[in-house]
């Protein structure tokens, strides 16, 4: 299960990537760049967790 290390990506992106995009312009999807960057990590985090969920043997064969 090396895939689970993907879960570290949002932490790094949010805590250490944010200084790189600390600007208002360009406006992305109607939002200041920095807010658009942070918001993007909500669906991206869900995507990563979805991948981890699908590959995790703990979630196979047991339907509750």
């Amino acid at each position: 299960m090396t895939l689970r290390w993907l879960a570290v990506v949002p932490f790094v992106a949010i805590l250490f990537g944010t200084p790189l995009v600390n600007k208002v312009e360009p406006i992305v999807l109607g939002m200041p760049l920095v807010l658009a960057w942070l918001s993007a990590w909500l669906p991206l985090s869900a995507l990563i967790m979805g991948l981890i969920y699908l590959r995790d043997p703990a979630n196979r064969n047991k339907q509750s």
Partner: protein, 488 residues
């Protein structure tokens, strides 16, 4: 009675009706009352966990924070997301151990893991100290909402009193079953209202989102981004880390974890909850929209931004709908807080320290008797606490987070910290947090000559580091790197 007040009353009655009906013929044993007989499926657990984010504090405070502090508000969006990510691995083992040992509260969890009554009493006291201001803040929010949304016909004091009565009645009758059914209605309506307001208001007032943010940036340069001191990256990083770490350490979070029927629920919710966070974005938009339209709100008034703007823009009946939804956002977390606090006093202070042979039935009776007492106490703080409440809530987060190291190590087979270490770490860190709050100290006031990168460290985060250092040192000194006795 005006239109908006009628609508608010209808919402409140609906909540009461649902709360009372939720009992529906169940025999309310202690396990049913506190943790729903551990029978809730993925969706109900989702709603209880989401119920903790969309509180009155987020609806009013989230928009107010965006209005008053700008970029600082972004942290709210991020810490929950990070907490949900690690919940995938943290919550299943907590749930498993609790189910196996029929655990009902957070302090009991620590007691069974560490086999220490001292520790569970300490955890219980920390939890209660942090929870009561939180509950008071929900009630205070409820009072503000009813006052503003009824155009001043009902003042905050009777609103808080009625709210507390409603809450106490359905919590005593239905316990957590009541919370979950109110949560269903609440989440559907918050979703609708927040998304609608967050889209409508910026477009109505500014012609679009980009236009709105450009206008704000022009009027207040630097407001929408992180600055070199104050709302700096150091502040953002340490605050996000502190609050993400503390996210599940509230006693009521444990209550909602224990309601789950299977551990699968947590892994599924870890996938869906980050997306659900997007709704908060719309709450922020409302706050941003208010900046140039209802300028001049200062201090505690910033929390009124959402309602001031709504009263300006909508008909009374719709203001009533927003008010009614606001009342629901106070009731769900309010009821969870009431249940976990009363259970903790009855189960961990009374049964844990005074009468160790009390039966479940006795504990349940005491817990339910305590509901009105805790509710009244919180109402008292809500009406008389003043501005001190917000600082108490911030302190609450710093307080509960200190339980994290002890919880985390207890989940591993080989335990790196012993009971003495965990207790010392918690005590030292809590003393630091409380004294810093009472003397209004921050890292910046204690060490003013430090560079901003260090000065803006969140104090609670610093206390967490002290906590880990003390816990490790004491564990090492008392040397028993004891193997875990009770882990599954």
């Amino acid at each position: 009675m005006n239109t908006s007040l009628t609508v608010i009353s209808l919402f409140s009655l609906l909540a009461l009706g649902l709360g009372l009906r939720a009992r529906s013929g169940r025999r309310m044993t202690l396990e049913q009352w506190t943790v729903g007989g551990r029978g809730f499926g993925t969706i109900l657990v989702f709603l209880l966990m989401a119920g903790e984010i969309y509180t009155t504090f987020t609806l009013l405070g989230g928009s107010g924070f965006a209005y008053g502090k700008g970029a600082a508000v972004y942290y709210i969006l991020m810490y929950c997301t990070l907490a949900y990510i690690y919940s995938y691995w943290l919550l299943p083992p907590i749930w498993r151990f609790a189910k196996q040992h029929k655990i009902l509260s957070q302090p009991e969890f620590f007691r069974k893991k560490y086999d220490s009554r001292t520790l569970s009493v300490l955890v219980s006291v920390v939890g209660i100290t942090a929870s009561i201001p939180y509950l008071a803040l929900q009630l205070k929010g409820l009072g503000i909402i009813v006052q503003v949304a009824s155009y001043g016909t009902v003042s905050a004091t009777p609103a808080v009193c009625l709210g507390v009565l409603l809450l106490a009645v359905y919590v005593v009758v239905s316990g957590v079953h009541g919370s979950v059914w109110t949560a269903v209605v609440k989440d559907i309506s918050v979703l609708g209202i927040a998304v609608f307001l967050g889209i409508y208001l910026p477009i109505h007032h500014y012609g679009g989102f980009g236009e709105m943010f450009r206008a704000i940036d022009q009027a207040k340069p630097g407001f929408l981004i992180f600055t070199s001191s104050g709302t700096s990256f150091t502040w953002f990083q340490t605050t996000v880390l502190l609050t993400a770490t503390g996210f599940f350490m509230w006693p009521f979070s444990f209550t909602s974890i224990f309601t789950a029927k299977s551990e699968q629920a947590f892994r599924r919710n870890a996938v869906t909850l980050p997306i659900y966070q997007l709704i908060l974005l719309f709450v922020f938009f409302v706050g941003f929209a208010a900046i140039l339209k209802v300028p001049g709100l200062k201090g505690g008034e910033i929390d009124l931004a959402l309602f001031k703007l709504s009263v300006q823009a909508f008909d009374p009946w719709f203001v009533g709908v927003i008010g009614g939804v606001g009342v629901l956002t106070a009731l769900v977390p309010g009821s969870l807080l009431l249940i976990s606090t009363s259970t903790s006093i009855a189960n961990d202070l009374y049964r844990g320290a005074i009468n160790t042979r009390a039966t479940d039935a006795t504990v349940n009776r005491i817990a339910r008797l305590l509901v009105p007492v805790v509710a009244l106490l919180s109402a008292y703080f809500a009406l008389n606490g003043g501005g001190a409440l917000v600082s108490l809530l911030l302190m609450g987060y710093s307080l509960v987070t200190q339980l994290f190291p002890g919880l985390l190590v207890s989940l591993f087979e080989i335990r790196r910290l012993n009971t003495a270490g965990v207790i010392s770490g918690i005590v030292v860190a809590e003393v630091a947090v409380v004294s810093a709050t009472l003397t209004h100290s921050t890292i910046a006031t204690i060490f003013p000559s430090l560079p901003p990168a260090v000065r803006d460290i969140n104090f609670g985060f610093a206390a967490l580091i002290i906590n880990v250092l003390v816990a490790s040192a004491v564990s090492f000194a008392t040397q028993s790197r004891a193997r875990s006795v009770s882990s599954s």
